[in-house]
């Protein structure tokens, strides 16, 4: 097992190298993204101030603040460029280098990504700690420390990361024929940010829509981990949710293999 993992070590190292080269750029882009979360925070603040009751759809303002920032940080960490790198490598043919190696080539992307993330999580870690302490003072956010929930959150978060990764592998292999990757990305992003619950918690939506979205795979990306962090579920419900998340992870894992196979076969026929 360990020796199997060792084969992927060079890919993780390459990822670390990539992220050290672009660390400043990365931080700037994420800072830009954070502005969006700040706007959402102020929007919710004014919404709660304009409401006659303290709770809206079961959320207190404190919980809402946490929801906004936790979901934002999850969305940043699970972000992946794997669909674009697959698209580019298929187009310029460099994917064949990966295929020649006697290892699972989808996992080579995963380990490069994890390498990239390692430094980025560290880079983000400092601002996040500053931010959480700061927000504790400025926004008066109360943090929840419950051992069970934290463990469940970490597991749920990890599944969210992998689900998003394999989903994007599927996207990468099914959309590499498009020239306008910017447009298709935006389209995907819009749908996912809504269906994952990062724009608005599902509880605010009409019941029917909320139920549908909860059963879709994207709820696993942001909504469930965040709600677990907020301590919104009983232990029994928690277990159900984790099983549900694992189901979708396996689904996308298998789907990515199938799509990759079909796409590569097509590529061979084209001789590209």
């Amino acid at each position: 097992m360990l020796s199997r993992l060792q084969k992927y070590l060079p890919f993780a190292k390459a990822g670390i190298k990539i992220s050290t080269t672009y660390k400043l750029d990365f931080l700037c882009y994420r800072f830009g993204d954070m502005l969006e979360a700040i706007i959402t925070y102020f929007l919710w603040l004014s919404i709660f101030n304009s409401s006659s009751s303290n709770r809206i759809s079961g959320f207190s303002f404190n919980e809402m603040k946490l929801y906004v920032f936790v979901s934002f940080f999850i969305s940043i960490i699970i972000k992946t460029g794997v669909n674009e790198s697959i698209g580019e490598e298929v187009k310029d043919g460099s994917i064949s280098i990966r295929l020649l190696k006697p290892i699972n080539f989808v996992n080579t992307y995963l380990f490069t990504e994890i390498g990239i993330r390692l430094l980025q999580i560290f880079l983000l870690g400092i601002p996040i700690i500053i931010f959480i302490t700061g927000s504790y003072i400025i926004f008066k956010i109360k943090l929840y420390y419950n051992f069970l929930y934290i463990i469940a959150f970490v597991i749920s978060f990890a599944i969210s990361y992998l689900t998003n990764f394999y989903f994007n592998v599927c996207v990468g292999f099914s959309s590499f024929t498009l020239k306008n990757t910017w447009g298709s990305n935006l389209f995907k992003q819009a749908i996912i940010s809504f269906a994952s619950g990062s724009v608005i918690p599902f509880n605010f939506l009409p019941n029917v829509i909320s139920n549908i979205l909860q059963f879709m795979p994207f709820s696993s990306l942001i909504y469930f981990p965040t709600m677990i962090y907020l301590g919104k579920y009983t232990p029994y419900k928690l277990l159900n949710i984790l099983i549900f998340q694992i189901f979708w992870l396996i689904f996308f894992y298998i789907l990515s293999k199938v799509i990759a196979k079909v796409a590569l076969k097509k590529l061979e026929i084209q001789g590209g």
Partner: protein, 259 residues
């Protein structure tokens, strides 16, 4: 005149490519369209829970939101190439060729591509304005002001992009800096009184995106901020001149250090 002719060639070429990649183009527009629609759904959901937001009702918010998309979309349509410039033109050494041509490098770079995807933003902006058309008490005067406002609000976007793009003359790349400043435009989509003092100050006086949407829109809706138009003209022109100045400084730095 020469510049207009040139621009026509760029646009004509763009449309030829468009026909070649129809699907891409539709996806691009759809992407923008869906992004903005979902934001409106968000507002709509919120307003099912509360009667008004600091005194603004849903229709008024839709008007402000729709208004914000017009300059944003126009700038996106016309000057999208500045993003490419900030991300790779200097670092790849491609800037030299612009200096070797007898017309303004800034003109060539700004207008070299024509980004039709932006129609998605303009379209939904117009639809939202039509939807909330009735909340404004329209007079001929207001209608004229409305039309005059658009080029100046667009100029704020473009100037900001030129300024941040110029940074790459010193640092080779400035896409990330441009991104931070550009993202601030999202603050303008909502009434400024939902923000705290610091943010309000920044988007009014330092990076004046509040003038691209909220101030003009609140004038049309409520007649507030009567003097917005003069301040808009002043601020946008000042901002534009500043951006030209930084661009010039950037070019002369490039000339002495090379790439």
């Amino acid at each position: 005149m020469q510049y207009i002719k040139l621009y026509k060639i760029f646009v004509r070429q763009y449309f030829k490519q468009l026909l070649e990649y129809k699907l891409d183009f539709i996806i691009g527009i759809l992407g923008i369209f869906v992004t903005q629609c979902l934001n409106i759904v968000f507002l709509w959901v919120i307003f099912s829970k509360i009667p008004s937001l600091y005194g603004w009702n849903l229709d008024e918010l839709i008007f402000i939101y729709g208004f914000s998309l017009i300059p944003k979309g126009l700038d996106h349509l016309l000057t999208d190439n500045l993003w490419i410039f900030a991300k790779k033109t200097v670092v790849s050494g491609q800037f030299d060729k612009y200096l070797l041509r007898p017309i303004s490098p800034l003109f060539q770079i700004t207008f070299e591509t024509f980004q039709f995807d932006a129609v998605g933003e303009i379209l939904i902006g117009v639809l939202l304005l039509i939807k909330s058309f009735n909340i404004v008490y329209w007079t001929p005067q207001k209608a004229i002001l409305f039309i005059l406002t658009i080029p100046f609000t667009t100029l704020i976007y473009t100037s900001l992009k030129i300024m941040t793009a110029s940074i790459s003359f010193w640092t080779k790349k400035s896409g990330s800096v441009m991104y931070i400043f550009y993202m601030i435009n999202n603050f303008a989509k909502y009434p400024v009184n939902i923000y705290n003092f610091v943010i309000r100050f920044v988007i009014t006086f330092i990076i004046p995106f509040a003038f691209t949407a909220f101030y003009p829109a609140s004038f049309f809706i409520r007649g507030e901020n009567n003097t917005f138009f003069y301040s808009l003209i002043m601020i946008s022109i000042l901002f534009f001149l500043l951006s030209l100045f930084i661009w010039k400084k950037g070019i002369s730095s490039y000339e002495s250090s090379g790439s």
